[in-house]
């Protein structure tokens, strides 16, 4: 109240005092109108321009980042496609090498079969023996015109002989046909063998054709990537998102396995490094040691898969000569087996420690020892030991999803970053626009507070203009001049 009163010229006449104060303030504001308009305009323009500048920079950076992402994505896609093609070629090469090796033997076999079939065919084509020459003699006898006993006797003899020979010939003919049938029957397996061989060849050719189609598909993809096709880029980006999701899921499952692993060895590790040592306020040394063992297992698994060329996170390992790589692989495998054995023994120790503690608790509680069933009590122990040995190897495979995460995360983060920068750019541009308009709004608001002096000014200017005949808007000109100066 005292503060308010100190502003009043005449504390007893509040209304009059307020009016006087308002008139004074109005006068002051009117006098400061041009500089204030300049300040408002300058500040708003400064903010607006700065925002526009930052927005433009964000858009440019986003574009640069997009181009960079695109090139990385396409390069990665190209590398993947090239690897697939390489593997397909290798597969086809192996197939061709293997089949080509078999082809001469196959060909020889087919030729042999064909020769045998041809021989058999020729044998089948043998005609039966021609009729004996006595047929002509018979014709000559038949031409004798004068009859008698002698020709009759002769003809009868001939008839008998003919009958005999006919029977013999027919029997011979039948036997011959029987033999040819037998030959034809014997030809059947050869035909089948030839058919089978031809079928095998056909199958191999079909596989080869499928592989060739796959190679064609990959080559097409590679061509698209090289052509920097938008559709391919989009497909690769989507693929990166899918890969990240799948790999993350697998990683989460692997983390679950690692957690169980950790639980298995944390307690027995305290037997090695002590249970009462702490690294930080809440972190036990034994817990950290267990974690280190698990991380070492994961690292060994990573090196193993790297040296097997399943993953390619370390270019130096990938570019090693085969002998060194083989040595590294063996070393990683040996370390992994040792770590798995350690973990298995730790799991056994865990079981023993728990059993010991349970026994102590029974002693302290003066309770009777629990009846033990040998098989039942040893099942969890065996289970823990097996888990302790198997989990490190299972954990080793986490390198594959990890590599996928590393590769796809770059693309995904890049996409989000570009979108974020663009979004921010739009927001800043919009804010800049708002500030640009705000200058006018603030100027008008300022003018509203000094509306009375302004009206008087306009009236005076109008009077002067009326007397001098000047119709131009002096006020507007002055205002725009001051803005330009600002």
């Amino acid at each position: 109240m005292t503060t308010w009163n100190s502003w009043l010229f005449w504390p007893n006449h509040v209304a009059l005092s307020v009016f006087a104060l308002a008139a004074l303030a109005m006068l002051f504001l009117y006098a400061a109108r041009k500089p204030m308009h300049g300040v408002i305009y300058s500040v708003c323009t400064l903010v607006s321009q700065s925002m526009r500048f930052v927005s433009r920079w964000l858009f440019l950076s986003a574009e640069n980042l997009r181009v960079r992402n695109q090139s990385v994505l396409l390069a990665h896609g190209q590398e993947s496609a090239a690897t697939v093609i390489d593997r397909e070629f290798e597969r086809v090469g192996n197939m061709i090498r293997k089949d080509m090796q078999e082809f001469p033997a196959l060909q020889r076999k087919i030729m042999e079969e064909a020769t045998r079939i041809e021989d058999d065919y020729h044998k089948c084509g043998e005609v039966p023996p021609p009729p004996p020459e006595w047929v002509d003699a018979l014709k000559s006898v038949a031409k004798i015109k004068s009859g008698g006993d002698i020709p009759r006797q002769l003809l009868e003899d001939i008839n008998k002989s003919i009958q005999k020979i006919h029977d013999k010939t027919v029997a011979e003919f039948r036997r011959s046909y029987e033999e040819r049938h037998k030959i034809l029957k014997a030809m059947q397996p050869s035909w089948r063998s030839v058919e089978k061989l031809a079928g095998e060849m056909d199958k191999k050719m079909l596989t080869l054709q499928t592989n060739a189609k796959q190679i064609d598909g990959q080559m097409g993809k590679l061509e698209d990537i090289r052509a920097k096709d938008n559709k391919t880029e989009h497909a690769l980006t989507v693929s990166a998102f899918v890969q990240l999701a799948i790999s993350s899921l697998v990683m989460v499952i692997a983390l679950g396995g690692a957690f169980i692993n950790y639980k298995l060895i944390a307690l027995p590790m305290s037997e090695m490094v002590g249970a009462s040592d702490y690294i930080t306020n809440n972190m036990k040394t034994s817990d950290v040691a267990a974690l280190v063992i698990i991380l070492m297992e994961a690292s060994m698994g990573l090196f193993l898969l790297e040296s097997l060329r399943i993953t390619q996170l370390f270019p130096r390992i990938a570019s090693m000569d085969d002998r060194m790589r083989h040595r590294l692989m063996i070393a990683s495998l040996v370390f992994l087996i040792i770590l798995a054995a350690i973990e298995s023994s730790l799991a056994l120790m865990r079981d023993m420690l728990i059993a010991d503690k349970a026994s102590l608790m029974r002693d302290l509680a003066s309770a009777a020892p629990a009846a033990s069933n040998g098989l039942l009590t040893s099942i969890p122990m065996i289970g823990q030991m097996v888990m302790g040995f198997v989990l490190p190897f299972a954990l080793a495979f986490v390198a594959i999803p990890f590599e996928n995460v590393v590769h796809s995360l770059r693309t995904v983060i890049g996409v989000f970053l570009v979108q974020g920068m663009r979004g921010l750019g739009v927001v800043l541009r919009f804010a800049g626009l708002l500030f640009k308009r705000l200058a006018k709004v603030l100027e008008l608001t300022y003018d509203v507070t000094i509306v009375v002096p302004l009206m008087i000014e306009r009236w005076v200017i109008g009077m002067r203009a009326g007397s001098t005949g000047d119709t131009g808007s002096m006020e507007e000109k002055e205002l725009s001049k001051s803005r330009r100066a600002a």
């Binding site: 037997e271 002590g274 009462s276 702490y278 010991d356 503690k357």
Partner: protein, 220 residues
């Protein structure tokens, strides 16, 4: 690159060295004073239960001592059993078994004392626990808290219990307490005021040993 590697190794070393140095900060030190005077000596079974509970709860690296409260208790001779558990759980379990046997042996041959020097026991307990350098120090008093000093025993001077937790267990009511409960309440209030004045961080009283035993130790 090598610069960063050196920096990393140095940081790790610092963390490890500093961490290893304060490993005792996380350990528990418990000193159990068992009143053996007069009729209270009959409560030894309950005391054994408490000690067994402590043995079950304490971890490797912790310290535990059991001492009797006698006519003059400011002496190491009154410590029945003491142990600082090994860092290895298996060894700690073996030590706990041996400790339990010692306490059982003591409980069998217990003899009632004429006077009750709780203050002397407190000073002795504080001395022992300070030597163990335990992070959390607790003195458990298993007594009716009725101090009776023999002739020539001087205990009316300020004692130092800075950073100690004092837990009074099984504070039984005496015949006179039943007649005038104010005696019991005043006795407890006096002890609380005394230990707090001595610098104790906490004063806990547990009479329901069946369901409130976890109040004896604080969780880490």
């Amino acid at each position: 690159m090598s610069k960063y590697l050196t920096l990393l190794i140095v940081s790790f070393s610092i963390v490890f060295v500093s961490a290893c140095g304060d490993s005792r900060i996380h350990s528990h030190g418990v000193y159990v004073l068992v009143d053996t005077s007069g009729t209270y000596a009959r409560e030894m079974k309950k005391a054994s239960k408490i000690i067994n509970y402590l043995l079950a709860t304490l971890n490797p690296g912790d310290s535990l001592a059991v001492a009797k409260v006698e006519t003059r208790s400011f002496t190491e001779k009154d410590i029945v059993a003491k142990v600082t558990f090994d860092k290895r759980p298996s060894q700690a379990t073996a030590q706990k078994r041996a400790f339990k046997d010692s306490v059982e042996e003591f409980a069998k041959g217990i003899k009632g004392s004429a006077y009750t020097d709780i203050t002397g026991g407190l000073i002795q307990g504080a001395e022992y626990l300070n030597e163990t350098k335990a992070g959390i120090k607790t003195i458990v008093i298993f007594s009716d808290m009725q101090e009776e000093l023999g002739k020539g025993t001087i205990r009316d001077f300020p004692i130092k219990l800075d950073g100690f937790r004092i837990v009074a267990l099984n504070v039984t009511k005496l015949g006179t307490d039943n007649a005038d409960p104010r005696l019991y309440l005043d006795r407890l209030a006096r002890w609380e005021a005394r230990v707090r004045k001595a610098g104790a961080t906490e004063w806990v009283m547990v009479n329901d040993l069946e369901s409130n035993m976890e109040s004896i130790l604080v969780t880490r």
